[in-house]
């Protein structure tokens, strides 16, 4: 099977079976840390973040090919991760609704300082897309256009979501 993969925008890999797996390994090495941090910021739980990162790569592999350059690969992986997070949030909300069980707090991130519970709860109260926009823009420093490109939405839409999310956070945090 011939499959074209471009890594870091520098070289193209014409893959047979071996180079395909090597390319996947290389993409994992390049993007796993960044995806893990984003997953941790979205979920505030180390276990859930690890699951999300692994499932993101598995979903990406299911497509059978990767985007052409590193930036496109990163955007694609971030979008998969955020969508997975949204799916999980939706499912857990339905589960909570039916089981009426208070969800156990996820395992806190290792190495972190004292958890700011108010910030965590305020962020977790936001819809996942708004949460992702707040994290990518306010914490990771992406511009709104870049956030829109990462999430596959227009920059104006990202700005509107950010506005709504900031308003909610100000109300909850009293800032």
């Amino acid at each position: 099977m011939e499959q074209a993969l471009t890594l870091e925008g520098r070289r193209t890999v014409k893959s047979n079976d071996t180079t395909w797996t090597e390319a996947v390994g290389q993409i994992f090495d390049e993007h796993h840390a960044r995806l893990y941090r984003l997953a941790l910021r979205l979920t505030w739980g180390a276990d859930e973040a690890r699951d999300l990162v692994q499932e993101t790569f598995l979903r990406a592999i299911e497509h059978g090919r990767m985007p052409d350059d590193a930036n496109a690969t990163e955007r694609w992986l971030v979008r998969i991760l955020v969508n997975l997070c949204r799916d999980r949030a939706r499912k857990s909300a339905v589960r909570r609704e039916h089981a009426s069980v208070v969800a156990r707090d996820p395992e806190p991130a290792r190495g972190g300082a004292e958890i700011d519970v108010a910030v965590r709860d305020a962020l977790r109260a936001l819809p996942v897309r708004q949460r992702a926009i707040v994290i990518l823009h306010e914490i990771e420093g992406y511009s709104l256009e870049e956030v829109g490109a990462l999430l596959g939405i227009a920059g104006v839409t990202a700005r509107w979501h950010l506005h709504v999310a900031r308003k909610s956070l100000r109300e909850v945090l009293g800032a």
């Binding site: 395909w20 390994g25 994992f28 893990y36 984003l38 972190g112 914490i139 956070l169 100000r170």
Partner: protein, 156 residues
């Protein structure tokens, strides 16, 4: 400092991933799982190609088989009938009816009018049967009067 700056500062101070790293043993295990899944992915695609090829071949064989069977059971063409057969088989002459008056009395041609077929009228409803029962000390006798017009008249 604006409200947005305050929120941003608070979010950054509380960032759970500021110093977080994926532990090396977990990273290695995850990498192995991902690469293993990628290795499994490739032969599965080849397998899918074979399945697709097989399905296409089966569909083609089915279509060819149906076409062959249909052509085998086709009726033999019937030879055209001769003129005599056609004459014999032609429908009997139907009596025509006058549709319009003749233009002149001389040109009048006798026209055989069609005869209305006699349709059997359904039989009249069978009249009732009268039953008269005589009860006496010697015994009981019953008389039946079929097709009697009216029981009251018979009995009167």
């Amino acid at each position: 400092m604006s409200d947005n700056d305050a929120v941003r500062r608070r979010l950054r101070d509380a960032d759970p991933a500021a110093r977080a790293e994926l532990p090396s043993e977990e990273r290695i295990a995850m990498r192995r799982a991902v690469v293993g899944a990628a290795a499994e992915r490739t032969p599965r695609q080849a397998g899918r190609a074979w399945i697709l090829f097989g399905a296409t071949a089966c569909a083609a064989a089915l279509v060819i088989g149906i076409a062959w069977k249909t052509s085998g059971t086709r009726r033999e063409p019937v030879a055209p009938r001769s003129v005599a057969q056609v004459l014999v088989a032609s429908p009997p002459e139907v009596a025509s009816t006058a549709s319009a008056p003749s233009p002149s009395p001389r040109a009048a041609v006798a026209v055989r009018h069609g005869v209305r077929p006699i349709v059997p009228v359904p039989a009249a409803r069978a009249e009732g049967t009268t039953r008269i029962q005589f009860v006496a000390p010697e015994g009981t006798r019953v008389f039946w009067f079929p097709n009697s017009p009216n029981a009251s008249e018979v009995g009167s």
